[in-house]
Symmetry: C2
Subunit: 309 residues, 2 copies
């Protein structure tokens, strides 16, 4: 176990001990955000490698860092929070370990990008959705990853979707909601299925497209030249293809049914556009481009309004 | 004809009279950039509507604004430049008008995003590629459009591709090169076919994809909700779908063979990825995502290095 020189302890803290399992961008940013705002008495990072533990302390992400949740589980009780911030498919083995170690009074929450697969994993491990488990998803990605990318203001004005069910403890849900609010996020509730459908269309589908586009161009015989002359719009368009491959491998597998459904709709639409380009069907192209521009401009205005309100 | 109150005239100017046909983002930005830097004796905007003429003067885009090139053609001679900055498919009627009006000593250049179709139009109009015609393409798009979007620094550190042929006058080519350099651009030469292939892959293909994605989501029964919960990555990814629909209609028609070729390669790759997601083929997904991230990170580093050198 390692300890940081200075602590963000605060007697009026919202949370007792905050334990983050996985100190990458998502977990590290929440830990650092709570710690710097004095929102918990102690932040404990659980990481896999000693170097990451050292980095977590050096970056001010945690007060303590351990390599096994078993080292600190016995200390945890009411008002303490465990945040599982590992890739989506790695949540199940973590839950399996937590089941035997944690008191039911400890809040467990997560940040995985797919909620149906995590709920299914919890049901396999616990036989039900335990009341202490509050599933959530902060919508604040970045092409950066790792503990050094931790940003205490990552969640300011960003949305966090919580997906409580009838089984979820209202008190634990409130603790998780207040935790996210305290780092500046806007918190919304949504059914699990709706979350996976909406994120499948607006996040998982665009990532699949961006990875596939960059991969297509990288295969081109002329690829150095192609990338050399790419315009600024291309850089924005493909930014999400620089996201963490392991994280996105997990998301695509965990939400495969929704992603395939969204991909099929998109591929149908794109095939129609391809035919219109091949046929020189200017009316189809102008109509589609105009409709798409209108939809996006409207969405962008709504998003700006929402972030100001 | 209208005249601006103040003029950017400079006795050491690079160019005599600079005539811009079409005062939108591309034409207006070059006009304003040359004018504010004192790189021409006079800037004349040729626009279709009186309101645009007034706006061009009010925005400092031009010293004079007229509604017909015929009003100023007789004044033009050696060292004067006419810049055709209209949508790609509107270049041909402009060339047809210029042929009978302009002295062969006047430099004619353009900013259309497709070069093969403009060269073909010139051959139809002139029976050859006239030596005075220097085809070019500034790679500096934006989702903004119109004369009020004119930005005198739009081209600073941006690439401009010129596509001279054996017919092109070396002196006129040099004038156009110097003109772009004087507003801060990096100027490169490329064969016409290569330009259309590279831009088809890195610009036209991504625009087709972005328009199609936004259109697909806008058709979804849940579309208000879908756009409401879209993450920040989605905004970057779809920015290019807010581009001018008429401009992009023209580009897709003008470069249809290359765009269809690029779309077919992309759709093959995406269909393979869809199958891997449906089959749970984690190895394929992880390999592809890793390869794509590596390619994009490498491209981004190269682009940063190039913009610093």
């Amino acid at each position: 176990m390692m300890e940081a020189a200075s602590s963000g302890a605060n007697s009026a803290a919202l949370i007792g001990k905050f334990v983050v399992i996985g100190a990458g961008l998502i977990g590290g940013s929440l830990a650092k955000g709570l710690r710097l705002r004095g929102q918990c008495r102690e932040v404990i990072a659980v990481v896999r490698r000693a170097e990451t533990a050292e980095a977590a302390l050096a970056e001010g992400v945690a007060d303590r860092a351990v390599l096994d949740i078993a080292d600190v589980a016995a200390e945890l009780g009411a008002n303490d929070v465990v945040f599982i911030a590992v890739p989506t498919l790695a949540v199940e083995p973590v839950l399996a370990q937590l089941k035997s170690l944690l008191s039911p009074t400890v809040v467990i929450t997560d940040g995985a990008s797919v909620k149906g697969s995590v709920a299914a994993a919890a049901r396999r491990v616990y036989g039900c959705l335990p009341p202490q488990l509050v599933l959530g998803h902060p919508i604040a990605g970045s092409e950066k990853s790792g503990v050094t990318a931790a940003n205490p203001d990552l969640y300011v004005d960003h949305r966090v979707i919580l997906t409580p069910t009838d089984e979820t403890s209202p008190e634990h849900l409130q603790t998780v909601r207040n935790m996210w609010l305290s780092v500046g996020a806007e918190v919304l509730d949504m059914p699990i299925d709706e979350h996976d459908q909406v994120l499948g269309a607006t996040s998982h589908l665009p990532h699949a497209i961006a990875y596939s586009l960059v991969d297509t161009l990288a295969h081109d015989i002329d690829s150095p030249n192609i990338f050399r002359y790419a315009a600024g719009g291309f850089r924005d368009f493909t930014r999400i293809a620089s996201s963490d491959p392991v994280m996105w491998h997990d998301i695509m597998k965990a939400n495969s049914a929704q992603v395939v459904r969204s991909l099929d709709q998109f591929m149908d639409n794109l095939a129609r556009m391809r035919q219109a380009i091949a046929d020189g069907d200017g009316e189809y192209l102008l109509d589609t481009f105009t409709r798409a521009k209108k939809a996006r401009d409207k969405y962008t205005q709504a998003a700006v309004k929402s972030s100001k309100s």
